[in-house]
């Protein structure tokens, strides 16, 4: 099978930075600040009232606009389906015209960044796993369209005003991430080795306790199956780039897979919290920035999300 590459990882965060103490005091968390700090969280980011998820998407894409130019497709992912429509709720209510429910951010992105040749694909039912889902879809598209060269992947979410910024015991940040999947590697690219997803619709509306309860057995299965797809063993992994969730989660998983916790990268957890589907990009960018990744390194990226969905991707540093 032809190799595909991923590069140009960028992200953007909401403008308002808040400490968990402040957010807890303001009623923006279900849990106490102490509980959140015990789980590793310190700060998170929220959008100003006038900032949309699409604004975050643009901020993430802008630095890689040159690389995205000429993209054959855009896969635009949102965790919250409501972030997949920029139409005015008020206009929909007054006009009763459903076109106001179909003002798609992916179409705007295509126009705003002059990605004229790109087809638009929205992905909005994979929750926090949707960035990894977009990588998989991009890979499948390039596999089925021999003339295509690259696909722009974007994920962008912000919580509605007055939302509680905590889900399944994680402190949430508004944020967006972007990257490019292509046939030709550019500087700093990673080869896409394997992607895998598990969905359990039977737990589609799982409670927080059910989400936590099922986490380890499903994540264990996800990782084992992903490694199998890649014909790798856990010992072959040089890095595990995780979701920004309670830092005990990967203490347990690393122990189960006998992975040195030094290889587990969730360095942005204290400063950014759980940036919805952008966590992997934040942590990967930080890892690359640290200069510790060398050519040939194999990285496992994992995410769990509502639905319930679990997704993983294995990359190899070029």
């Amino acid at each position: 099978m032809e190799s595909l590459y991923i590069d140009s990882f960028k992200y953007a965060l909401g403008e308002r930075k808040s400490h968990v103490n402040e957010s807890a005091a303001a009623g923006r968390l279900f849990s106490s600040a102490e509980d959140m700090k015990a789980a590793g969280f310190r700060w998170h980011y929220m959008c100003e009232p006038g900032t949309s998820a699409y604004d975050l998407a643009c901020a993430a894409v802008r630095p890689i606009a040159d690389r995205a130019a000429g993209a054959d497709a855009i896969v635009y992912a949102t965790c919250l389906p409501l972030n997949g429509n920029l139409g005015s709720d008020e206009e929909w209510r007054t006009s009763r015209d459903v076109k106001h429910l179909m003002d798609f951010p992916v179409s705007r992105l295509q126009a705003d960044f002059k990605l004229d040749g790109a087809i638009a694909i929205g992905l909005n039912q994979q929750a926090c796993t949707s960035m990894l889902g977009s990588l998989r879809i991009a890979g499948a598209l390039l596999g089925s369209e021999p003339s295509w060269e690259r696909v722009l992947c974007v994920s962008a979410d912000r919580f509605p005003e007055n939302a509680v910024y905590e889900q399944a015991y994680n402190v949430i940040s508004d944020g967006a991430a972007a990257c490019v999947v292509s046939r030709e590697p550019s500087e700093g690219a990673f080869r896409l080795v394997a992607s895998h997803q598990i969905t359990n619709g039977g737990l589609g509306m799982a409670s927080d306790d059910e989400t936590v309860g099922s986490y380890f057995s499903y994540m264990h299965r996800l990782i084992a199956q992903t490694l199998q797809r890649a014909e790798l063993k856990a010992a072959d992994l040089d890095w595990v780039v995780t979701q920004n969730t309670n830092d005990v989660a990967w203490t347990v998983l690393a122990h189960l897979f006998k992975i040195d916790t030094e290889k587990v990268v969730s360095v942005t957890l204290p400063d950014a919290g759980h940036v919805i589907s952008a966590d992997n990009v934040l942590n990967l960018a930080a890892l690359v920035e640290s200069g510790r990744v060398k050519s040939g390194d194999k990285l496992l990226l994992t995410m769990a999300g509502f639905g319930l969905n679990w997704q993983a991707t294995i990359l190899e540093a070029v």
Partner: protein, 344 residues
């Protein structure tokens, strides 16, 4: 003949009173619950008329794995001391039977004989112990071990009945007393627990109320001494087998099937400790409560034991243990069908 039973309002004590009254042939039965004698109160048994009491079955105990030291001391040790003093005042006493636990063997592994264990040592896991010292996983085990010592050292005609973990009333799997085991199964059924401590091949001695009480009845007439009231090794299921049987039973339930709950991963002590520590950082909820109730026992699931029961066989010609697979399956089916007793 008169039999005095402590803990008569409790599960095994209550069943013992019922069995004595229905089949025992032991004459009067004095049923003492907490209302009649609160064993945490000094002198609680001082006014018991001792004349004519031929047998005492001491069933009163706190049996929670997570019991704290003070409660274990007050109920299981000091309470037993009061029973021993009462027994010494009974001029017609023929036997005092202490209902104990198999896990007075503590964290020992391998063959466990029907004989006194070593010196008492409080629960701790990081000790470099001298030979003969018994370490324990929790204060329940420690207190029952200490209670055994009190009874054995008293000079009384004493029988120690070390009973297994009771998961059902009888072979049908009906459950009327719920404990940490049932709570753990509930977590598994509802998908709230995906890691379990233990080794798949560890034998887990399980019993029923019927089995335990029938054995106790037989031991009332047997020679004094220590008895392991447990099924034979080949009738003792392994932890991995128990989990498989439970999930096979759960999977007969359509709502469970729809939720696609995976079988839990059996993990080592360090991973389980990490899980508990992690959950402690989450807002307090039923998952942590249930795990905290069973975690003090978890160390036993890494320490295989084979409980000898030759003395039990000799003392109880009618020995009959439940079929382990059937018991586990029937119990799981009952729990699911009644949603842990809510629908029964």
């Amino acid at each position: 003949m008169t039999v005095l039973v402590t803990g008569a309002k409790g599960y095994v004590g209550g069943l013992t009173v019922k069995a004595l009254r229905e089949h025992g042939g032991y004459g009067d039965v004095l049923a003492y619950g907490r209302a009649e004698a609160d064993l945490t109160v000094p002198g609680a048994l001082d006014t018991v008329p001792t004349a004519g009491i031929t047998h005492i079955v001491h069933a009163a105990a706190v049996t929670k794995f997570a019991v704290d030291r003070a409660t274990a001391q007050a109920v299981n040790i000091d309470g037993t001391a009061q029973v021993v003093e009462l027994a010494k005042r009974c001029p017609d006493l023929e036997r005092v039977v202490l209902l104990s636990t198999l896990y007075t063997a503590g964290l020992a592994t391998g063959d466990i004989a029907e004989e006194p264990a070593g010196a008492v040592e409080e629960p701790r896991t990081d000790a470099d112990d001298p030979p003969g010292v018994v370490r324990f996983a929790n204060y329940y085990e420690w207190s029952k071990h200490t209670a055994e010592r009190l009874v054995l050292d008293s000079g009384l005609p004493a029988t120690i009945a070390r009973v297994p973990t009771i998961i059902a009333d009888d072979d049908t799997g009906h459950v009327s007393q719920y404990n940490a085991v049932h709570n753990t199964l509930k977590l598994l059924y509802y998908g709230l627990l995906s890691l379990m401590p233990g080794l798949p091949d560890v034998p887990v001695s399980l019993g029923t109320g019927d089995f335990t009480v029938n054995a106790t009845m037989a031991l009332l007439a047997a020679e004094p001494g220590i008895y392991h009231v447990c099924p034979d090794l080949d009738q003792t299921p392994r932890l991995g087998r128990i989990v498989d049987l439970m999930f096979t039973a759960f999977e007969q339930d359509t709502s469970f099937l729809r939720r696609q709950i995976l079988r839990p991963l059996l993990v080592d002590e360090a991973a389980f400790a990490n899980l508990i520590n992690g959950l402690r950082t989450l807002p307090h909820g039923p998952v942590l409560d249930a795990l905290e109730s069973v975690s003090p026992f978890s160390a036993q699931l890494f320490r295989p034991k084979v409980f000898g029961n030759a003395r039990l066989h000799k003392a109880w010609p009618g020995y009959r243990a439940p079929d382990p697979d059937t018991l586990v399956s029937q119990t799981a089916e009952y729990l699911v069908r009644t949603r842990w007793g809510r629908l029964s």
